[in-house]
């Protein structure tokens, strides 16, 4: 649905994004993940036609973003990072204005505005001035304006920034409920956002693509080692080296009475380890898998630990 090919954007001499390529499948929620100043907003601005790219191609639903900008704009809803709201307008009149400039025919306008208000949960504030409503509601107005023309694609730039935890959860629910009918690309620098709402992620850092794919693929492809963490009651000084002697074990790390045991991918040493600890009477009281979760992955990627 969204395709980006070798996209580059330069601001003067500074390259905000470099040869960025990724794809987002129809009906999925995809996260554009990266630390601040990674090029997320720039990518989204190019996709929505706000700024042109220096080089490369981008298309939404097979419409070229640069060749057919109006066709793309008609089927794309965009929530910019800074909410584009007119403080002096009421929620209703603002959404009505947006419905006009998104070229919804006048006969369907009222229906579209009411629908957007309903989906975003704005009924209670529809007659209030935007400057007088809370940050959470403003965010909802931002989302409402993005989906007012029932776009196939939603581009949401940091949709939960500046909200309190309860509001964050609400907005995440809202975004999840839009999945299926809409293809969603959302940007964030918060990992939890991706693990909780997205099907996949594009991880970028300093304008360069670090990794992209579904969450499962991402974690799987970077998990070179497998292992467990065990907790022992009767560990001694030599326990670490004893554990290291188990056949197949690559590395053992110790932290008080917890031991992190790693072996290379494809084997399963859990049974051997259990047997061993029982034989040596080490008092095994806990064993948990050493999963490399996306959090470790993300930190590794943005600190340059993983290269693809």
């Amino acid at each position: 649905m969204i395709e980006v090919e070798l996209l580059t954007k330069k601001f003067g001499d500074i390259e905000a994004i470099k040869n960025l390529s990724f794809k987002v499948e129809e009906g999925k929620i995809w996260g554009l993940l990266g630390p601040n100043a990674a090029g997320k907003t720039t990518t989204m601005r190019i996709l929505t036609g706000y700024i042109p790219a220096t080089e490369g191609k981008a298309s939404i639903a097979d419409y070229d973003v640069f060749e057919q900008p109006n066709a793309v704009k008609k089927i794309t809803g965009y929530l910019p990072e800074v909410l584009p709201l007119y403080p002096e307008m009421t929620v209703y009149s603002f959404l009505n204005f947006v419905s006009e400039i998104k070229q919804i025919p006048s006969s369907q306008r009222k229906e579209a505005v009411d629908r957007a208000i309903k989906i975003s949960g704005l009924e209670s504030v529809r007659r209030r001035l935007i400057k007088n409503i809370s940050r959470g509601f403003k965010q909802r107005v931002g989302i409402a304006q993005a989906l007012i023309h029932d776009p196939q694609v939603l581009v949401l730039d940091e949709p939960t920034i500046g909200l309190d935890p309860a509001q964050i959860i609400e907005i995440r629910h809202l975004i999840k409920s839009l999945k299926g009918e809409h293809t969603i690309l959302l940007s964030t620098h918060i990992l939890a956002e991706v693990t909780q709402t997205c099907d996949g992620a594009v991880i970028i850092n300093e304008g360069i693509l670090m990794a992209s794919g579904s969450l499962e693929d991402l974690t799987a492809s970077f998990k070179k080692k497998e292992g467990v963490i065990i907790k022992l009651k009767n560990s001694g000084k030599d326990t670490q080296s004893l554990l290291h002697n188990i056949q197949g074990v690559d590395k053992v790390f110790r932290e008080e009475n917890e031991f992190k045991i790693e072996w290379s991918k494809g084997k399963d040493l859990r049974e051997n380890i259990t047997k061993f600890t029982v034989e040596k009477e080490l008092g095994l009281i806990e064993m948990r898998p050493l999963g490399m979760n996306i959090e470790d992955l993300y930190l590794k990627i943005i600190s340059g630990g993983v290269e693809q």
């Binding site: 800074v82 909410l83 007119y86 947006v98 400039i101």
Partner: protein, 255 residues
Amino acid sequence: MKNIWAICKKEIKTYFTSPIAYAAITVFLVLVGFFFYSLILWFNSQSLQMARYPDYLQQININQMVFSPLFHNISIILLLMIPLLTMRLFSEEKKIKTDELLYTSPISINQIILGKYFASLFVLLVMLLLTGILSIFTFIYGNPELAPVLTGYLGLFLLGAAFTALGIFFSSLTENQIVSAILTFGALLLFWVLSWASSSAGGTFKDVLNYLSFFQHFDNMTKGILDTTDLVYYFSFITFGLFLTHSVIQTRRWR
């Protein structure tokens, strides 16, 4: 067309739901009213004096003695007011980042510019139409000629429209409204006084300066002279102003 109307409607609403339009219109009318009153008083005393000399009385002309100076006074008030009306048009969009909504919607930059431009013209039109009440009084109690009054108003409107085009251009240059107003005011004043410089210049340069100055083209119209040169001047000025605005916005996005 629909898109232009959508933008225009929103801008008009913004003018009239905030105090901007009311403040501008009130101050404008108070000043115009004051000038009109003093001109009428002066005209009265002149007429009374002239009443003793029937020969001179023929020369007393309300169009020349009241309307022509009044139109010149109004033009100066517009010079001060228009920058304040146009300063926020693009500056504010940029400042509060609503431009991102406009430029990612399926409407063209030209439509946005024209929508905003027409909205300002609407406020200008309201201001001028309200001063029409004063003219009605002179028609009830005196017998001025209609044609010079109409061309005078047309002149004022075109002048205001040209001011607005320049104002909208400066508004697209900066996200600071004050800067936008100062630049507009300075440029307008410069275009106004170009004709002063022409008196000391010679040859073609003099003609060029005279042609470029607002004053010359406006002066004709207050006297009831409707010349296509003046109309062409205003229309090209407006087109050029709007074209520059378009270029500024377009190049900003490409940078």
